[in-house]
Symmetry: C2
Subunit: 358 residues, 2 copies
Amino acid sequence: MRSKATLLLGSALTLGVALPSLAADWQALPDQAPSPADNPTTKAKVQLGKTLFFDPRFSEHGTLSCNSCHNVMAGGDDNRPNSIGMHDARGGRSAPTVWNAAFYSVQFWDGRAATLEDQAKGPLVNPIEMGMGSLQDVLGRIDKIPGYKPLFEAAFPGEAQPISADNAAKAVAAFERTLITPNSPYDRYVKGNKKALTEQQVRGMKTFDSLGCTSCHSGANFSGPTLPIGTGFYMKFPTYPGSDYDAKYQLTADQGRFEATKQEADRNLWRVPTLRNIALTAPYISNGQVPTLDEAVRVMAKTQLNKDLTDAQAADLVAFLNALTGEFPVITMPRLPASPNMSVIPPVDPHLKEKPHG
Amino acid sequence: MRSKATLLLGSALTLGVALPSLAADWQALPDQAPSPADNPTTKAKVQLGKTLFFDPRFSEHGTLSCNSCHNVMAGGDDNRPNSIGMHDARGGRSAPTVWNAAFYSVQFWDGRAATLEDQAKGPLVNPIEMGMGSLQDVLGRIDKIPGYKPLFEAAFPGEAQPISADNAAKAVAAFERTLITPNSPYDRYVKGNKKALTEQQVRGMKTFDSLGCTSCHSGANFSGPTLPIGTGFYMKFPTYPGSDYDAKYQLTADQGRFEATKQEADRNLWRVPTLRNIALTAPYISNGQVPTLDEAVRVMAKTQLNKDLTDAQAADLVAFLNALTGEFPVITMPRLPASPNMSVIPPVDPHLKEKPHG
């Protein structure tokens, strides 16, 4: 006896329906993100995490907070090819959006952090990002800001030493787990509101599926299947090397996960990124060299599926991807606790280049 | 017949009360700031102004908003000696707080702008601040962000061309007029709550008056008398040159208002700054070279009043100044309107210094 799936497959083939459209499992975004057993999301933790996330004093010169490159007032990134860190330094990769990052099973473009907690510690001490000498230096500044003590105590009640790098990272991760954008037109459509998408967006959705985009960009977050935390969903990029795009956008200059692991099997592997709110996060691709979403869908179709899009296909896909822009929660600004009568930012700056009339 | 004032003066002298304490006119901060006839504060204007204030896309590299150096989540400045602009540039002056700036009759340290509206345009095109080539370039970016159009239309209803540099400046000024911090312990004290200040703070308040600090730092904003808009309240700094502080903190390197006017009479003249929330805005003095509030009161007493403070006097003054920290209104974060599918920040960057592993 044939299984139901085989029967369906048979019907699909009979009806001339392309296989991938059957395979697609369209999922709406959950309203809440899961939290790990050792870091349940609490209101006090979110409040502390939000405060830390917006506090620029944990960068060498006191000028960059997490939000500087992951701007939650916008698409959760900085709309730049790469971010600008201390001393005007630039990285080779584009800041990924922090919105819905809670749904990834690994963090960073190369998956080198398993959790949001691990990720949160990285940029603080990266010399081309926030540039702090060490996490101990960060804690030294927190210690000089009396108002942080009650926030840490409320977030981690009963702990003998609530102020620690691990707890700061837990709080930032807890805040990030609240950064969810449900109820996009796409979500409302798959929940049953057939008027939520325009005709062009529905066409784009079918094209997205039939071309094979869903083979990587699947699941509620369009970043692949749900895997255990620490297990990344990686793809080779470009899967079809040799197109003109390789040189035009330097697609192979950065070896992706290989740069982190030095394992040959990881060469040119990248975590499959979410497509949620993708319309807001130009420029595109891990190096931020592709300026528009129209160009990005063409680059991806060619490099990953070996397909040349027609103008109509590209336009439909872009229309569909615009339907992935969700609802952003209202966030109140945190009050950054004071270090009364002094600044925690070191006054001596060897890079001082003073000019008059500031 | 002697006037009531003279009678009171006589009584004061009889009682041995120092003259300045009688002269002091302690005023609470108003809950609202006045708005000019040609720019009445409206909800729609404040909303637009807040959005512009937090939008980093109106800086050359898309990295700095007004809030970067005038952080309203903190004391309205950046707790740095000077701010860091495009290309890692530094100015010679410390960012003044935006909180209660609405109560000044002139803007900038040297009063070179009459109004908040005029001031708002300056940093955008200052090459060592936000570094935009021109206000026209700013408008060019606004035009590429469709979501700004309805915000401008709502803020300036009925206008044929609502999007303009003047209107953007008006909106930012309208938002800034909401940045008021009433109900500090000092305010509650002068309104009649005698328990609002500690004993030390009351001592500091009397010292502040008897030493003569009130001769400059008077009025509700502690920045001098209320003068017509465009008429600044300036003082010479140092009034008593020659102390060791001159060299230690380079007090005469910047000639103040003279740098703007080139008038000899303006040499070393500075707008008298507010002392509200001064505990939050270290480091101090126009060049940000004085690290602590304790040191700042000593510097000011010596350079402006030719007095050497005792440790007790300095501590009392610092305690009093801490009573000028007010209540900060809750502000919700604006959603920055999107430029879907592209970035308005130019992708070509002649200063690109790429490094791997961003």
